[in-house]
């Protein structure tokens, strides 16, 4: 479970990226974080994962305060950033070993999981190549594999579908479903309404740093017809991509 309480963040220069946001992401459900570009999604995710510190408010991951106990909180999380261009000089297998070491994965579990993830993502024949030589989609896949190695109870993904081919996208959606069905937490951001509608159990809509709506997809549709400003924002979302 993730909880945010009255969280705000203003960037130097005065842009209020996240404005007094309170949010609870329960376990057992796929939770989508929806909003147009520049709405504050990535800033909120950066604060949850410990990359940025909020100016005010409190963030807890499985009840652990990320400001007070950062290492323990970070160990709960598996985070897939929106840009998969990282660790490019490492070989696939070296990156996976690195992540396992950092997240304290026991050796025997590590072997089993790497070989299992390799099979599912069809990455076994490129593991000994440098990540630099991977395509965008393959980079995305290897990053996701590294993040899942320690079997995180909270999985956070920033715009995960971008750049994946339909097959990998389908696979990822299945894995996300699997993750919540075992009672764990999943939080992901997207600016594509279609994606949110298809896979989310519950969504939060953010624009200009403020949460406009939280609820199920059906509740959203109902809400949409009554709220003109939300509707115009949605046109923006559906126009995209």
């Amino acid at each position: 479970m993730i909880t945010l309480e009255n969280v705000s963040k203003t960037y130097p220069g005065g842009v209020k990226a996240v404005d007094n946001v309170s949010l609870t992401v329960p376990s057992g459900e796929i939770f989508g974080f929806l909003g147009p570009n520049g709405a504050g999604k990535t800033t909120a995710i950066k604060m949850i994962t410990g990359i940025l510190r909020p100016d005010s408010g409190e963030i807890k991951v499985n009840g652990i305060d990320i400001a007070k106990n950062p290492l323990e909180a970070k160990k709960q999380i598996g985070f897939v950033p929106d840009d998969p261009n990282m660790f490019l000089r490492l070989k696939g297998i070296e990156y996976l070993n690195f992540m396992a070491d950092i997240y304290d994965v026991p050796l025997d579990e590590q072997k089993g999981r790497i070989s299992d993830l390799c099979r599912r993502f069809e990455m076994a024949d490129v593991l000994r190549d440098p990540i630099q030589s991977y395509s965008h989609g393959m980079r995305q896949k290897i990053i996701i594999m590294g993040v899942l190695l320690h079997n995180p109870s909270v999985w956070i993904l920033d715009e995960p579908m971008t750049g994946l081919d339909p097959r990998s996208s389908f696979l990822l959606k299945n894995m996300m479903r699997e993750h919540v069905e075992s009672g764990r937490t999943l939080f992901f951001s997207t600016h594509v309404l279609d994606v949110a509608e298809k896979i989310c159990d519950r969504i939060a809509i953010i624009n200009r740093g403020r949460i406009l709506f939280t609820g199920t997809i059906d509740e959203m549709r109902e809400h949409l017809s009554k709220n003109a400003s939300l509707e115009s924002m949605f046109l923006e979302l559906t126009d995209d991509e």
Binding site: F79, D104, Q110, R128, P130
Partner: protein
């Protein structure tokens, strides 16, 4: 010069983020100014003292003009050596090249713009190496303003020939490397090869530059700065620059200056012409990364999967990045190998008497109990310098660039992450120490136990200079870059780190000589001194350093 070259130059400079001096907090300013005001005056003082010594000695035989000629040749040499590293990094391994290749621009325009960009950085180097000497000579000679005007013109055109030479050599070597089927493997080796060959070339040229005692005698007899032109064979255009400065009062001075400027422009034009033929073929496909697609069989996972502590994993990651990224390898790792190797080679192949005598003296000092303590001081000072000059710790944070955020979400304490960065500097520094040890035992015949002492004690100067470098980079990291060479080549922290290591080196040598340390005392005093420094920096890093790292927002 055509318009597109200017447009490209401006774009490259604006995109470069300058030297990375963007200080936000007041304390950063205070600390950096302190370093500048403490170590710069020390260096300048030493520089003026040495210049004065040579001026006086040379003036006694009517040859003070030689000073200018030395200054110019040393500066040109420096531009050439720095130039080789700059050219390899900027012409071939900079990520921005791929942005320019699809544009409708000629190769000579890309090369011209890259050249001008490097030239700006070379002016900083020349400003340090030649400007003080130019001014000192002027003051002592009581010259008119025209001398300074000519001096300025010389300063502006001086780096062009050596930098063009460096560019040509590197371009030809990279063209050949990129020909082969094995270019992926050869890429890092090729870059290193370019550096080695170019430096080797200058070394060989230097050897042709020696005079026999008879020739020297004749020249000395003729007096009035006759020697000044003898030092200029390696960079022939320097000859006209010397003449222009020595004879600025008469028309011949102006003629010489114009010849010097004309030749420099010609050489630059020739470089552009040749770049049309060789540059693109050398640079194309430089960022390609091949893959083998070897399937891993089930049984192989056991061998491939390893388990390490978080600290070892971070350290190994740092070192892999340094060794595998061509720009980092060539600028941070390679120099540590090059200097000890060139030192050895120049002694081994030195045929003249003075080098042999020098070698015997050094060897004697390393075996004489009266001088061993001081020798240890000098060697530890050298190690401190090598450790600070590689810039590994001084760019450890900058190298993260926009990926710094990764360090913030992984569950490893900031202290541990900083320790891994620090140790990467020490580990790579030890590769130079190993080479220094080879020189000590094989060439200078130092006793083995002495080499053992050096091996163990080197840890301290390496740690101290790395700690200093890391602190500078924490205070003033250069995180906004789009091309790796900007993180290590255009980073003022490397300069601070070198200054810092020079201060440490001077301190260690000063203590060894001031107290005339015996080996036994040196073994007590020097480690104690270095340890005290390490303890101070440990405190700074674990308090101020960790909290700064925590608050960095990449």
């Amino acid at each position: 010069m055509n318009n597109k070259t200017w447009i490209l130059t401006r774009a490259m400079l604006k995109n470069g983020g300058g030297l990375g001096l963007n200080l936000k907090s007041k304390w950063s300013w205070v600390l950096l100014l302190l370093i500048l005001f403490v170590s710069l005056p020390i260096m300048l003082y030493g520089y003026v003292e040495i210049t004065a010594f040579f001026y006086n000695s040379l003036a006694a035989i009517g040859q003070e003009g030689v000073l200018l000629s030395w200054g110019l040749v040393i500066s040109a040499m420096m531009v050439f050596v720095f130039g080789v590293f700059h050219v390899v990094s900027n012409f071939y391994f900079a990520n921005d090249i791929e942005n320019y290749l699809p544009m409708p621009v000629r190769p000579r325009q890309i090369v011209g713009a890259k050249f001008l960009q490097i030239l700006l950085y070379e002016y900083i180097a020349v400003g340090f190496s030649f400007l003080p000497m130019l001014v000192y000579f002027g003051v002592r000679q009581g010259v008119s303003a025209l001398y300074y005007l000519y001096g300025l013109a010389v300063l502006i055109f001086l780096p062009i020939l050596p930098l063009a030479l460096a560019s040509l050599l590197v371009m030809l070597i990279m063209r050949m490397v990129n020909l082969t089927r094995y270019r992926e493997l050869l890429r890092i080796i090729g870059g290193s090869l370019a550096v080695f060959l170019a430096l080797g070339f200058s070394f060989v040229m230097q050897r042709f530059n020696e005079l026999t005692p008879e020739e020297l005698g004749e020249l000395l007899q003729s007096g009035s700065n006759s020697l000044a032109l003898m030092e200029t064979k390696l960079f022939p255009t320097v000859r006209w620059a010397v003449q222009a400065l020595l004879r600025y009062e008469i028309a011949a001075g102006l003629t010489n200056l114009l010849v010097f400027i004309g030749l420099s422009v010609l050489v630059f034009a020739a470089l552009l012409l040749i770049s049309e033929l060789v540059y693109i073929k050398g640079v194309i496909g430089i960022s390609e990364s091949g893959s083998r697609r070897h399937k891993i069989r089930e049984g192989e996972f056991g061998r491939l999967v390893k388990r390490r502590t978080a600290l070892t994993a971070c350290l190994s990651n740092e070192i892999k990045l340094l060794v595998r990224t061509p720009v980092y390898f060539i600028n941070c790792v390679l120099p540590g190998f090059i200097w000890p190797v060139f030192f050895t080679v120049s002694f081994i192949f030195a045929s003249d008497r003075s080098s042999t005598v020098m070698l015997e003296r050094l060897s004697g000092a390393l075996n004489d109990p009266n001088t061993m303590g001081k020798a240890l001081g000098i060697i530890l000072a050298l190690v401190a310098f090598l450790g600070g000059a590689n810039g590994i710790a001084a760019t450890a944070i900058s190298r993260e660039g926009q990926q710094l955020y990764i360090k913030r979400y992984i569950p490893v304490s900031y202290r541990k992450q900083l320790a891994a960065k620090l140790l990467s500097g020490v580990v790579i520094g030890y590769t130079s120490v190993i080479l220094v040890l080879v020189v000590l035992t094989a060439v200078l015949k130092a006793p083995l136990y002495f080499a053992g002492i050096v091996l163990i004690l080197s840890f301290l100067p390496l740690l101290l200079t790395s700690m200093g470098g890391l602190l500078f980079d924490l205070i003033n990291p250069k995180l906004e870059w789009d091309s790796e060479q900007k993180a290590v080549k255009q980073n003022v922290n490397v300069f601070f780190s070198i200054l810092f290591s020079v201060v440490i080196a001077i301190a260690v040598i000063a203590v060894s000589f001031a107290f005339d340390l015996s080996l036994a005392w040196a073994l007590v005093v020097l480690p104690a001194l270095l340890l005290a420094g390490c303890a101070g920096f440990y405190y700074l890093l674990s308090t101020y350093g960790v909290s700064t790292f925590k608050n960095l927002e990449g």
